[in-house]
C-alpha cells in the first residue's frame, strides 16, 4: 500500500484493511484514515514513502500516553509492590518470571509471590520461574486466601528489607464480578501491609487479542486503577494493534513486551519499533 504514488480510494482501502488486520478495530482504523485525509489536505502527508511515515506519525501521536514507559524509572519505594493481573492464559506468570530475572540482574532483592491459589499447578509453575530468575519465592497454599498470601509476603519483604515484591495473581475474566472483587480485596489488604501498596498494578494483554482487549482494560482499570500494561506474545504473527485502540481511551503506559517463552524474552516497550512493525 505504501508503494502507491497517489492517495486514491484504493490506497485508502488497502490502508484500512492493513490497520484492521493488525487488530486496531474498524473505529480506530477509521479515525486514522480521517487523520490521513486531514494531513494530506494540509500537505503534511504525501503519497509513496510519505504515506507510510505519515501513518506511523499518526499512530505514534495516538500512542503518546502509552509512551511513559521509561520502564527503568519506575518510582522505587522500598519494597516496591507490583500486582500482575489479567484474563486467563495471557502470560502473567511467565512475564513475572522474566521480570524477576530482569530485576535480579539489575541488582537488589526481589520476592516473587505465587498468589494464584486457584489454578492447578500455578504455584509450582511460579516456583520454577523463581528458580530460573534467581529470586526467592513465597508460595501460597492451593485453595488458600490469595490476599492473605500477598499480605504475608509484603510483611516478610519489609522485615527482610527486600527491594521488590512481585505478585502473581490467578487469571480471571473481567466479566466475573466476584473474581474482580477478590482482586480489589487483595489491593485493600496490601495497603494495610504497607501504605501505598500496591504501588503498581499492571494488566497483561495477549497480542493475539482482538477487540475484547478494550473491554478488559476498561473493566480492570475501573476496578483497580491500572498503572501500566504489558503486551505479550509479540513474537507471534499478531500485531497487537488493540493497544492503539486502548491508547485512544486510556493513558496507560505499556511497560514491557513479551517476545517469547524464555527468561530473557522481555523488552521495554518501544513505540517506534512497535508502530513500524505494524506494517511489516
Amino acid at each position: 500500500v505504501f508503494s502507491r504514488k497517489r492517495l486514491d480510494i484504493d490506497t485508502l482501502e488497502e490502508l484500512e484493511e492493513a490497520l484492521i488486520l493488525a487488530d486496531l478495530g474498524a473505529r480506530t482504523a477509521d479515525k486514522v484514515l480521517q487523520e490521513v485525509n486531514v494531513r494530506v489536505k494540509n500537505r503534511t502527508i504525501e503519497a509513496g514513502d510519505g504515506l507510510r511515515d505519515g501513518v506511523i506519525d499518526i499512530l505514534r501521536d495516538i500512542m503518546t500516553g502509552a509512551m511513559l514507559s521509561a520502564a527503568e524509572t519506575i518510582a522505587q519505594p522500598r519494597p516496591w509492590v507490583l500486582m500482575m493481573v489479567g484474563v486467563n492464559g495471557v502470560g502473567k506468570t511467565t512475564t513475572l518470571g522474566k521480570l524477576a530475572h530482569h530485576f535480579h540482574q539489575q541488582g537488589g532483592k526481589s520476592l516473587l509471590v505465587a498468589a494464584d491459589t486457584f489454578r492447578a499447578a500455578a504455584i509450582e509453575q511460579a516456583a520454577i520461574w523463581s528458580e530460573r530468575a534467581g529470586v526467592d519465592v513465597i508460595k501460597g497454599q492451593p485453595g488458600g486466601d490469595a490476599a492473605a498470601v500477598a499480605f504475608d509476603a509484603v510483611q516478610a519483604a519489609c522485615a527482610r528489607r527486600m527491594d521488590r515484591v512481585l505478585i502473581d495473581t490467578a487469571g480471571r475474566l473481567h466479566t466475573k464480578a466476584p473474581l474482580m472483587e477478590e482482586l480489589k480485596k487483595m489491593q485493600r489488604v496490601l495497603g494495610r501491609a504497607l501504605p501505598d501498596a500496591p504501588h503498581d498494578i499492571w494488566l497483561v494483554l495477549d497480542a493475539t487479542t482482538g477487540q475484547n482487549g478494550l473491554a478488559q482494560v476498561r473493566q480492570f482499570h475501573e476496578s483497580l486503577g491500572l498503572t501500566g500494561l504489558v503486551l505479550t506474545k509479540l513474537d507471534g504473527t499478531s500485531k497487537g494493534g488493540i493497544v492503539i485502540n486502548v491508547a485512544q481511551e486510556f493513558q496507560l503506559p505499556i511497560r514491557y513486551i513479551g517476545v517469547g517463552e524464555g527468561v530473557d524474552d522481555l523488552r521495554p516497550f518501544d513505540v517506534a519499533e512497535f508502530t513500524a512493525a505494524l506494517f511489516d
Binding site: N88, A121, Q125, T209, T237
Partner: protein, 292 residues
C-alpha cells in the same frame, strides 16, 4: 445492538415497499462494523456482507416483519448456515483406542480442555487416558496430573522426558493396563510460525494417528485466527475447533472466520474454568452473540 440499529435504518420504510440499494447500503455498513467489532476476519466480513446484500436487494417488505427485522433475519440465517451446516457429534473409532490430539497457540486452554474432554468421554461411558505431552512449560505435566486426579482419570506423566513422541508411545503401551478406550493428548502451546515445533506436532500426529485433532482457540482471538488455523490445518489437518473462554464477553468472531476459511466446525465450546464447563456448539447462539 445490531437489530436495534437496523430497525432504525429502515424506520422510514413503511407498508409496501422493496428493500432498495440505498437503504441496504447503510444496513450493510452497520453489519460490517458489528462483525469487525466481533473480530470476524476482514475478508470473511467482506464476502458475508456481499451475500447479505444480494439476498436483501429486491426483497418485498414482508407484512409480518419490519424491514429491519427482515434484514436481521437474513443476517442471522446466513450466519447460522455458515456455522451450523457441518456440525456432527463425536463418533468413536471402530477399533479402540479413539485418540484425541489437542493443539494450538500458547495459553489458549489446551490442558484444561483436555481434562474437560476426558470428563465428557467418561460421561459418555468411555474410559479415557490423559497424556501429558507438553515437555516445555514449567509444571505443565503437574497441571494435567492434578486435573486428572480431580476427575479420577489416569494420566501418563513422564517428568524427565524431553520427547513428546516417546511419551505418546509409552501412553499407547500403558493404555491396556487402564482398560482405556480413549486417549486424550495435551501438547505444548506453540506458534504456527515455529517450524521446529510444527514439525514436532506433525511427528506426534504420525505416531498417534488421532481420530480427532482439535485446534484449541481462545474466543478473544483477533484477525490472525484465520492464519493460525490455516497453518495448523496444513501441518496436522484438524477435524475441528474447541473455542474457549466463551463465558466472558469476547464475541468470538474467530469461530466464523475459521469455519468460513478452513472449513472446519466448532466441535465444543469452553464456558468456564471448571472441568464440567465444556459444551456442544450451538450455531444459533453463536449467531446471536456475533450480532451483539
Amino acid at each position: 445492538s445490531l437489530s436495534a440499529k437496523l430497525d432504525g435504518i429502515f424506520s422510514q420504510l413503511r407498508g409496501r415497499g422493496k428493500l432498495t440499494e440505498a437503504n441496504i447500503k447503510e444496513a450493510t455498513r452497520e453489519i460490517r462494523l458489528a462483525l469487525l467489532e466481533a473480530d470476524v476476519n476482514f475478508q470473511v466480513v467482506k464476502g458475508f456482507v456481499q451475500r447479505v446484500r444480494e439476498q436483501a436487494l429486491g426483497q418485498e417488505v414482508m407484512r409480518s416483519l419490519t424491514p429491519g427485522q427482515q434484514v436481521v433475519k437474513i443476517v442471522r440465517d446466513e450466519l447460522t448456515t455458515l456455522m451450523g451446516s457441518q456440525h456432527t457429534p463425536l463418533t468413536m473409532a471402530s477399533q479402540p483406542p479413539t485418540t484425541f490430539l489437542l493443539v494450538g497457540l500458547q495459553g489458549s486452554g489446551k490442558t484444561t480442555s483436555a481434562a474437560k474432554l476426558a470428563r465428557k468421554l467418561q460421561d459418555m461411558g468411555r474410559r479415557p487416558l490423559l497424556v501429558a505431552a507438553d515437555v516445555y512449560r514449567p509444571a505443565a505435566m503437574e497441571q494435567l496430573r492434578l486435573l486428572g486426579e480431580q476427575i479420577q482419570t489416569p494420566v501418563v506423566v513422564r517428568q524427565g522426558s524431553r520427547d513428546p513422541v516417546d511419551i505418546c508411545r509409552q501412553a499407547f503401551e500403558e493404555a491396556p493396563q487402564h482398560q482405556a478406550d480413549a486417549i486424550v493428548i495435551d501438547t505444548a502451546g506453540r506458534l504456527q510460525i515455529d517450524e521446529t515445533l510444527m514439525q514436532e506436532l506433525a511427528e506426534i500426529k504420525t505416531a498417534t494417528n488421532p481420530r480427532y485433532t482439535f485446534l484449541v482457540v481462545d474466543a478473544m482471538t483477533g484477525q490472525e485466527a484465520v492464519n493460525v488455523a490455516t497453518a495448523f490445518n496444513q501441518a496436522v489437518s484438524i477435524e475441528g475447533v474447541i473455542l474457549t473462554k466463551l463465558d466472558g464477553d469476547a464475541r468470538g468472531g474467530a469461530a466464523l472466520s475459521i469455519q468460513a476459511v478452513v472449513g472446519k466446525p466448532i466441535q465444543f465450546v469452553g464456558v468456564g474454568e471448571k472441568l464440567d464447563a465444556l459444551e456442544a456448539f450451538h450455531p444459533e447462539r453463536m449467531a446471536s452473540r456475533l450480532l451483539g
